[in-house]
């Protein structure tokens, strides 16, 4: 829809020239892509199983029963056990496990003394230890990151869609619709966000699975937080609207849709882009906070907030949980903030600004 105009291209080049932000961006993108392919690195399903001269790739797709590999049970094959068995039997069959051979839901109660809160151990491949029910902390961190990031991106897209629509309508139409719209936004913004989320989450029917619950949580959060952006969009649109090029477009006979999409939006995009990283950071922290309070994602979805809660209540007995979670959280939020700063600077029309 938009063509990258030379100005924008210049801004992008400037962003690339700000090393800290640019690298942060690359790292974050890399981490997110990594987490999207998380099943290949952290998973209880094997990458490859060679059984009776046949190769199996159980990572994606339907679950394979223990019987498929000659075990005596019908439920999902335990690949770690399978690997041990093949090793014991000294057969030509083999199993290739991911680096961390645990899933985010799986409880590693295999060894006798495991009763939860095992410290980090390379021997058992629990690099960040385990939580209360003996689930691998690293696995939960990774999948938690994936969910939080996806959630944040979804949040960003949805809030921006609503905010842009409402903001540009108010700004472009002006007058009464602006007045009424703004009043509505003001009232809506004053609805206490956290309480509403708590109330709505507790009355929501949960019958349709985790996916539905996550998306309904997303919708609820978006419902109560799109207002913040509207002000900025409205103000920028207002400012741009009075410029000569808009008047020129009107004179040529362009309709409001064309003016908004072709002329106004490309010019307010700097506002949008500048705020984007901070919106992402806000989304990650609020989903974590909600989970910490117990109103977020339904258990046992891996989540940072839930890990933090466990970590805080077992600060002395299982410090590895809180250490790894806080490190991950701080690291991610720092990356996002660096990106945000860089973007802001890149889109700042004054190239040499000094701060006092």
């Amino acid at each position: 829809m938009f063509q990258i105009n030379p100005l924008t291209r210049k801004k992008l080049a400037r962003f690339r020239s700000i090393q800290r932000g640019y690298w942060s961006f690359l790292i974050l993108i890399f981490l997110y892509l990594l987490s999207l392919a998380g099943e290949l690195f952290v998973n209880n399903r094997a990458l490859v199983v060679s059984y009776n001269d046949e190769l199996f790739f159980p990572t994606y797709g339907e679950q394979m029963s223990g019987k498929d590999f000659g075990m005596d049970y019908e439920y999902e094959a335990d690949y770690r056990e399978l690997k041990n068995r093949f090793a014991r039997e000294d057969s030509k069959n083999w199993v290739l496990l991911p680096i961390v051979p645990y899933g985010p839901y799986e409880m590693d109660y295999d060894s006798e003394d495991s009763t939860g809160f095992s410290p980090p151990s390379f021997r058992r491949s629990h690099f960040c230890g385990t939580d209360k029910t003996e689930r691998d902390v690293l696995a939960r961190l990774l999948y938690g990151f994936r969910i939080a990031m996806t959630f944040a991106i979804g949040y960003l897209v949805l809030t921006y869609l609503i905010a842009i629509a409402a903001g540009s309508l108010m700004g472009y139409l002006g007058g009464k619709s602006d007045m009424l719209g703004l009043r509505f936004v003001e009232i809506w913004a004053n609805v206490p966000f956290l309480y509403m989320v708590i109330i709505l989450v507790s009355v929501m029917p949960g019958g349709w699975g985790v996916g539905w619950q996550v998306s309904s949580l997303l919708i609820i959060m978006v419902m109560f937080s799109w207002t913040g952006m509207t002000y900025y969009i409205r103000a920028s649109v207002y400012r741009e609207k009075s410029r000569d090029y808009i008047a020129a477009a009107k004179v040529i006979g362009a309709g409001p849709m064309r003016i908004i999409f072709k002329h106004l939006l490309p010019n307010v995009i700097s506002t949008l882009v500048t705020f984007a990283p901070f919106t992402i950071a806000a989304a990650i922290s609020s989903i974590t906070a909600l989970d910490f309070l117990g109103y977020g994602l339904p258990p046992p979805t891996p989540s940072w907030g839930e890990l933090l809660k466990q970590g805080v209540s077992n600060l002395r007995t299982a410090p590895w949980i809180v250490i790894s979670t806080v490190t991950a959280l701080v690291f991610t939020l720092t990356l996002v903030t660096f990106i945000g700063e860089a973007v802001r600077e890149a889109f700042d029309p004054k190239k040499f600004s000094t701060y006092e």
Partner: protein, 731 residues
């Protein structure tokens, strides 16, 4: 915009009118009109002397009551006092108010509202001459029972405890009164007529020095202890037990549960004989009738009568108590702590069963909002005792090699008790598909891996609950066992119900393509880990559990509306002689249709029944045979038959498979500072809570010694202080 401005005025007016008229209508005194009239008479329109008005009102009321009584006697249509028919009392009663209008001496002090109430319910409240007391009563005084406290106990010291939240009121009844703090005011403190002995099936005397069960098996006679007094020095009067029912049945206390529990259908009659003798008649001759009718005294002189201001008037003004500890308004540090003082010369100081209990001079209950923080406060010595039932506290946060335990400053105690456990269980709503199929329910039982939960999460300290009525001694089914975790059996039963193939994600599907997926609701966030284990293990049996963890009240509401498929919850059980089945398993608590009208001839349920909400039948059990047996069980008065029926019912409910028993803990585990001393047995058999019987004492010199040693870093014991009391350990 202009128009809008004008609109403001009427709308504001309307709003303000609405607010002023909205003063909680519940709070309005019901007899407002007559009160107002009286006040006008008294004050003549000028300022009103409240005392005078009250006196006058009383006078009027009394006259009204007398007139009312007279009319009742004269009118042939109205209910007559027909005690002769009931045959409980050998002689006709003396009137509460005589022919001449004089009030019976036992009730001379009553206010007119209270008298009127007694008059309105002549079948509930009666006075008989002392010679009407049956002569051949077998009076008991608990003399044969052993005391359960230690004669070594020393009085004095301050007992430091914590509460999670500051009490919202010092009332013990009405809205907000049912908080944790109430225990210190009421449950562990106030003395009833008679108390069940916590070590035996007998009783020990409280306000009553002796008691006897009448021939009908449902009337219990009590003789008050002449020493019994309230904390304000007033004697406990027999009429206080009349007043108790006036109080408990009053709408003003805003406690419908109590209104109902102490209602007329259960507590049928109270009779006074003289200043110290009374009887209470229960609706059934239950084996444990003494315990059932052993009410507490309500200080009538304190309340006089109730009105719409009850809640606000007594919010921070606690009633005088017969118990050892008094809460005085001046000892309330709002938001921070409440200090209870032991009465200087408490009437039961020398009384058997009480003399070595209630030892600390003060109980200081401070607010610590966070449980983990409270634990830290405990480790610093700010709290004397701390419950360590949770595995992580017992093993990880205060391990046996913890410095404080090693040095003998702190003790870790395991005390095996015998009491009905809270009924932790998965309650299956048998009304909701697919649970309307018995095979699914049985399969579900076999898919729940509680063995792993007990072994891994509770580290083998908890044991599996087996029946719906564990912990009731002989009344619990002796051989019934909970269904074990077995993937084969689960799959077999699921297959019988049509779920015989696994989908791509390993969850079973039936021929219609429905997945075997169940929503599991709970209000217990702290047991999330348990449910997570169950969920992961159930996958092996091809069953998907979707967990829904809500706030306790929200979960409770959903279950009350019978919107759940399965709920993980627990009811607190009372220490009772035999379990209750009607509330959770009778079909009258599942559907609105009454009795057998909900069943077809063959015993199956009719279609389109109306669900009954807000009952404890969370399993929606509606089985005709179970109904009939429960009805018989409730009517039965013989303990042997009750036992037999309780066993039958436990078995039938087990076969109906709607209740997956979880666990029970056969012990109490606490940590306490070693300046708190306990009797040799630690506590009585039926102790459910370490604070319940207050048999411990604070050893002040020991406290100083320990604190000094701690400061110097010297141990006071050469080995860790760990104590196990397994005298009452069963099997």
């Amino acid at each position: 915009m202009k128009k809008l401005k004008y609109l403001h005025i009427p709308s504001l007016l309307a709003l303000s009118l609405l607010f002023t008229s909205c003063e909680n209508p519940k709070l309005k005194p019901p007899r407002e009109d007559s009160n107002q009239k009286n006040q006008e008479i008294a004050g003549g329109g000028g300022t009103i002397d409240r005392e005078f008005a009250r006196e006058l009102a009383r006078e009027f009321g009394r006259e009204f009551a007398i007139e009312f009584a007279r009319q009742m006697k004269d009118s042939p249509n109205l209910v007559k006092f027909d005690f002769e028919k009931e045959g409980n009392v050998t002689k006709p009663m003396e009137d509460l108010i005589g022919e001449g209008g004089e009030v019976h001496p036992l009730l001379a002090h009553c206010s007119e509202d209270v008298l009127e109430f007694y008059q309105k319910h002549p079948d509930c409240f009666s006075i008989s001459p002392i010679d009407a007391l049956p002569r051949d009563l077998n009076w008991q005084d608990g003399g044969e029972e052993q005391e359960f406290a230690s004669p070594n106990a020393i009085k004095g010291g301050t007992w430091e405890v914590f509460m999670r939240d500051f009490p919202r009121t010092l009332r013990t009844i009405g809205p907000d009164a049912n908080g944790a703090f109430r225990s210190y005011l009421l449950d562990y403190n106030v003395i009833s007529l008679v108390h069940p002995h916590p070590n035996s099936d007998g009783y020990y005397p409280g306000l009553a020095k002796s008691w006897a069960v009448g021939k009908d098996g449902r009337t219990v006679y009590f003789q008050l202890d002449p020493k019994a007094r309230y904390s304000d020095g007033e004697k406990v009067k027999v009429s206080d037990f009349f007043f108790f029912f006036y109080f408990m049945r009053s709408k003003h206390i805003q406690a419908p549960w109590y209104n109902d529990f102490y209602g007329k259908d259960k507590f049928q009659k109270v009779t006074l004989y003289d200043e110290k003798t009374l009887s209470i008649t229960f609706y059934k001759a239950k084996p444990d009738v003494v315990e059932r009718v052993s009410i507490r005294a309500k200080p009538e002189h304190f309340y006089e009568e109730l009105d719409g201001e009850f809640l606000s008037k007594y919010q921070w003004n606690p009633e005088p108590t017969t118990g050892a500890y008094v809460a005085l308004p001046e000892n309330v540090d709002k938001g921070k702590s409440v200090t209870l003082l032991r009465q200087k010369d408490w009437w039961a100081d020398e009384k058997r069963f009480f003399r070595y209990r209630y030892n600390p001079e003060k109980i200081k209950v401070s607010v610590v909002r966070d449980y983990n923080k409270a634990f830290e406060v405990f480790l610093k010595g700010g709290v004397d005792m701390f419950g360590l039932a949770k595995t992580e506290f017992w093993y990880d946060k205060l391990p046996n090699n913890h410095e404080l335990v090693q040095n003998g400053y702190l003790s870790k105690v395991t005390f095996f008790n015998q009491t009905p456990p809270p009924s932790y269980a998965l309650r299956i709503n048998s009304q909701k598909p697919p649970f309307d199929d018995l095979n699914i329910r049985i399969g579900f039982h076999h898919a729940m891996n509680f063995d792993m939960v007990l072994e891994k999460i509770f580290r083998g300290d908890f044991v599996r609950m087996n029946t719906v009525a564990d912990g009731y001694g002989g009344r619990s089914h002796p051989t019934l066992r909970a269904r074990e975790f077995s993937i084969e059996k689960a799959l077999e039963h699921f297959a019988k119900a049509g779920f015989n193939e696994r989908g791509g994600d390993g969850i079973l599907v039936n021929s219609k393509g429905d997945r075997l997926s169940i929503e599991l609701l709970t209000g217990y966030r702290h047991f999330e880990d348990v449910l997570v284990v169950l969920k992961e293990q159930a996958k092996k049996a091809g069953l998907e559990l979707k967990l829904k963890v809500l706030e306790p009240t929200a979960a409770w509401k959903a279950a009350n509306e019978k919107n759940h498929q399965v709920i993980f919850s627990a009811f607190n059980s009372f220490v009772e002689l035999f379990p209750r089945f009607w509330e959770p398993y009778h079909s009258d608590n599942a559907y609105q249709e009454v009795g057998d009208s909900k069943f077809e001839k063959d015993g199956s349920l009719k279609p389109n029944l109306t669900t009954k909400v807000s009952t404890n039948n969370f399993t929606q059990t509606a089985v005709r045979e179970i109904d009939h047996l429960i009805n018989k069980y409730r009517e039965e008065e013989d303990l042997g038959k009750i036992t037999e029926m309780a066993h039958q019912l436990s078995k039938m409910i087990h076969d109906h498979a709607v209740w997956v028993p979880a666990w029970k803990k056969p012990w109490l585990r606490i940590g306490h500072w070693n300046w708190v001393k306990f009797p040799d047995d630690w506590g009585p058999k039926e102790t459910r809570d370490y604070e319940e019987f207050q048999v411990f004492w604070i050893d002040q010199p020991e406290k100083e010694r320990i604190l000094k040693a701690m400061e110097a870093g010297k141990p006071v014991a050469d080995k860790p202080t760990l104590r196990i009391y397994d005298k009452y350990k069963s099997n």
